[in-house]
Amino acid sequence: MEGGFETGFLLGHMNYWLFVILMMTGFYIVVARGNLLKKIVGLNIFQAAVFMLYISVGKISGATAPIITGNPDEVYSNPLPHVLILTAIVVGIATTALGLALIVRINESYGTIEEDEIQQHDLEQYDKDCARAEEAR
């Protein structure tokens, strides 16, 4: 009895844990990699894992896709998460495009898309500005 409950619990929650693994892989790319394009790819992976989590909440076992078949006994999965995520995907690509556009502009003014080089450049610029202010005084 106890064992049966454990198996059911494991099988019923395993998908959530797998989503968390995917989410954390995306998160790791965002935190640990300095390349801005790769950060965007990491964010997309994170985002896709969140989408999967939402969709899995709406799933009912034995149900079918929420398109009316005419059979009155048919069980449908919950359509609400589908609607939310469908629009979220398109909004996601629009914001991704905005991020990519920012990357292109950053590359034009810094000549690099690596985070540490951009910071280095900013620090040097700051030192130069300070020295110039010192001279002016």
């Binding site: 059911g8 999967m52 589908h82 590359n107 034009e108 003014s109």
Partner: protein, 194 residues
């Protein structure tokens, strides 16, 4: 059968994601992110979300790859080798993951028909769509009619993001005679002139 297929998809998804972590060539990274999207679309089909799968395949596999390739063409094609590997990001990620997994322990079982999310408003939409709106695809009915206001907001977000990209990249916001920023050759007006 369904569980075996789901697990197989998951293994492929995680393998793709981990490959993206380690690969340095950005071209390969972009291609793998397209593969990731298509696998995600398959997973959405397994979870009955056909509309979402359709969108993910068209957007993630199509447009997103094109835009990322465009970005690579305008910037760099390899990622710089990190100077030293730090354990701090890994620790943060593991900690966050542990907290999230702790949070899932109270969630209802996957596919359970009496989960709180299935009780409230979803069944109402399913029951009312044939009499109120009479279109077979419930997702379209909810998207365009019951929650039309939300969708209007989403369209405005897409509109605004499009405006942002046009202003950032098409040079419409640049006054005539302003010099180009560093790294841009002057011959780009050949395409932009009209």
């Amino acid at each position: 059968m369904e569980i075996a297929f789901t697990i197989l998809l998951f293994i492929a998804l995680v393998a793709t994601a981990i490959a993206i972590v380690f690969i340095k060539r950005l071209f390969a990274v972009v291609m793998l992110s397209g593969v990731f999207s298509l696998l995600a679309a398959l997973l959405f089909i397994v979870m009955d979300a056909v509309d979402v799968a359709f969108t993910e395949a068209a957007v993630g596999g199509g447009i997103s790859s094109v835009l990322m390739l465009g970005t690579i063409a305008l910037t760099a094609r390899t990622q710089k080798q990190p100077e030293r590997y730090s354990l701090v990001p890994l620790a943060i990620v593991l900690l966050t993951g542990a907290v999230l997994i702790y949070g899932t322990l109270d969630m209802p079982n996957f596919g359970s028909p009496d989960a709180p999310a299935q009780r409230h408003i979803g069944p109402e939409y399913i029951a009312r769509t044939p009499t109120d709106i009479d279109v077979p695809n419930i997702v379209t009915a909810v998207l365009a009619s019951y929650r039309g206001y939300d969708t209007l907001g989403e369209v405005v977000v897409v509109f605004t993001a499009g405006l942002g990209v046009i202003l950032l990249l098409s040079g419409l916001g640049r006054r005539r005679g302003t010099p180009y920023p560093r790294g841009v050759s002057a011959n780009r007006d050949q395409d932009n002139a009209q």
